[in-house]
């Protein structure tokens, strides 16, 4: 490690485990170390026991979660039963719609085993947008791109479904 790197580490700090996780999440893709560190500061580490509910369907949402360790099941209630939508593993994320507004959650998230997650919540995201508009808008743009891709996929799937009928 050269002297400049040592000074840089002393002033800006070293890359933490959370930063290493965050840099692999699509929403934070393309952010530099300094920007990732700023995101790390506003994330909250939460631990869940097996079968503990992270959030319930139809509850107002406050933020997104990134799985640090363990796995999470997303389920949705129909009139008669509860169906599994997807099982998410380490380094995957869910609940990102709640970063935009507090509309009700579209599914219930439950920890399968002992699970650790990083919570990234709307109040902190809104503060980030206000305090650091440049970084905030980078995250916002990525979020919009992810939602656009998902919308495109949903539209294509429903069109295909209609054609099959």
């Amino acid at each position: 490690m050269n002297i400049i790197q040592i000074i840089k580490n002393k002033i800006f700090g070293e890359k933490s485990e959370i930063v290493k996780i965050l840099e692999k999440i699509p929403i934070f893709e393309g952010l530099n170390d300094l920007e990732l560190k700023k995101i790390e500061i506003i994330t909250h580490e939460r631990s869940y026991l097996p079968n503990e509910v992270i959030f319930h369907e139809k509850e107002p949402g406050a933020g997104m979660y990134i799985i640090k360790r363990g796995s999470v099941r997303l389920t949705k209630k129909t009139e008669t039963k509860e169906i599994e939508v997807v099982v998410l593993k380490e380094k995957e994320f869910f609940g990102e719609l709640a970063l935009l507004d507090e509309s009700p959650r579209s599914a219930t998230a439950t920890a399968i085993g002992k699970t650790e997650v990083l919570g990234f919540y709307r109040p902190d995201f809104l503060t980030l947008l206000q305090r650091e508009p440049k970084l905030g808008s980078k995250v916002l743009l990525k979020l919009a791109q992810i939602l656009a891709a998902r919308l495109r996929y949903t539209t294509e799937t429903s069109v295909k479904g209609m054609n099959h009928k």
Binding site: I11, F12, G13, L34, K38, I41, H44, E45, R46, Y48, L49, P50, N51, E52, V53, I54, F55, H56, K58, E59, P60, G61, A62, G63, P104, G119, Y121, R122, P123, D124, T127, R131, E132
Partner: protein, 353 residues
């Protein structure tokens, strides 16, 4: 497993309640020591955006806080250097005039006593005058006796200032970590609601305190300018007092007028001057209410003026000056808590689960 979860959530909730109770108990026991911590909290709210800004540019938080502290000490040094002569002059003149004021008050009391004794027949002649003379001759001794306690007070002020500086430094540097560690204890079930609540309360109180302080500084400066223009003696000190009292909503500006009027009567012997002081301070208040306050404080606290006046009065009755200062932020925190919990429970029924 679910049973374990319920027990864990209850344990966490109880721990939070115990911590809050313990903190309140400590505050109750150490009421007199509370002032430096409250001042430090106000400074933290005031300086936090600046530290965030510096940290945003890539500097480590500890370095950013140190830089700000060095900056503040430098600015204070400059202010003291610039205003030292005039403030010391005002204090010295005021100090020299104290015996004069004392004699004036004494002679006016004696005059009143003579009038009273003349008009009320059953009052024994000369008794009141004797009493006034006795009591006034005791005054130098009383002052002499209280000198050791003045020295203790001075030491208390120095200790208080050091506590304020240390607390402010560490709350600015590590406050976020403390906050994060404390809210870690909140049970998962209530975490999102709690975080939203904390954000709203923090935003409103922060905006209010920052706005009020900026407002006070501007009102203080305007008062100094206005009072100097009409030629009031001790304009700087009276202006500073009027700026400081302005922090108390609605009642503060009236309190700020009293020292000015007192100086007019005692020093200038002029009711016209007193009217001038009142007019100047009213004009400053008008400028404050029309221009400065909407910009500085804005709608940081969405409270009805009547609610503000009532909470300030109740706060004053319960906790004196600090109560008056803390009334609005506390009322605001309660209002936000009620609104968020109401929305969560009534609109979403989110705690049914």
């Amino acid at each position: 497993m679910i049973q374990n979860l319920k027990v864990l959530n209850w344990v966490k909730l109880i721990v939070i309640y115990l911590i809050i109770l313990f903190a309140l108990f400590i505050f109750y026991l150490a009421q007199d020591l509370l002032t430096p911590f409250l001042i430090a909290s106000i400074l933290v709210y005031l300086l936090n955006p600046l530290v965030d800004k510096l940290e945003g540019s890539g500097i480590r938080r500890g370095v950013a806080v140190s830089l700000i502290f060095i900056g503040i000490i430098f600015v204070l040094f400059i202010i003291i250097v610039i205003f030292y002569d005039s403030i010391i002059n005002e204090i010295n003149t005021f100090k020299d005039k104290v015996p004069l004021y004392f004699n004036k008050i004494k002679s006016s009391l004696e005059e009143s006593a003579t009038i009273l004794e003349k008009n009320i027949s059953f009052l024994p002649k000369g008794n009141l005058k004797k009493l006034i003379n006795e009591k006034s001759s005791e005054l130098p001794q009383i002052i002499e006796k209280s000198i050791p306690s003045l020295i203790t007070k001075f030491i208390e002020v120095i200790t208080g200032t050091l506590i304020v500086l240390f607390t402010t430094f560490f709350m600015l540097k590590d406050g976020r970590t403390f906050r994060k560690e404390i809210i870690k204890l909140v049970p998962n079930k209530y975490f999102e609601t709690f975080l939203c609540l904390l954000y709203e309360i923090n935003k409103q109180i922060g905006n209010y305190i920052r706005g009020q302080i900026i407002d006070c500084v501007i009102v203080g400066i305007l008062s100094i300018i206005g009072l100097s223009l009409i030629g009031l003696k001790y304009a700087i000190i009276i202006g500073i007092v009027s700026g400081i009292t302005n922090i108390i909503p609605y009642l503060g500006p009236i309190m700020g007028m009293i020292p000015g009027i007192f100086i007019c009567i005692i020093e200038h012997h002029s009711m016209l001057m007193a009217i001038n002081v009142v007019v100047v301070l009213i004009i400053v208040q008008l400028i404050d209410n029309v221009v400065i306050s909407p910009l500085a404080v804005g709608k940081s606290v969405d409270l009805h003026p009547l609610a503000v006046i009532i909470s300030v009065t109740v706060g004053g009755a319960l906790m004196g000056v600090w109560g008056m200062l803390l009334a609005v932020p506390l009322f605001c925190a309660l209002k936000v808590t009620f609104e968020i919990l109401y929305r969560g429970i009534i609109e979403y029924g989110s705690w049914e689960n």
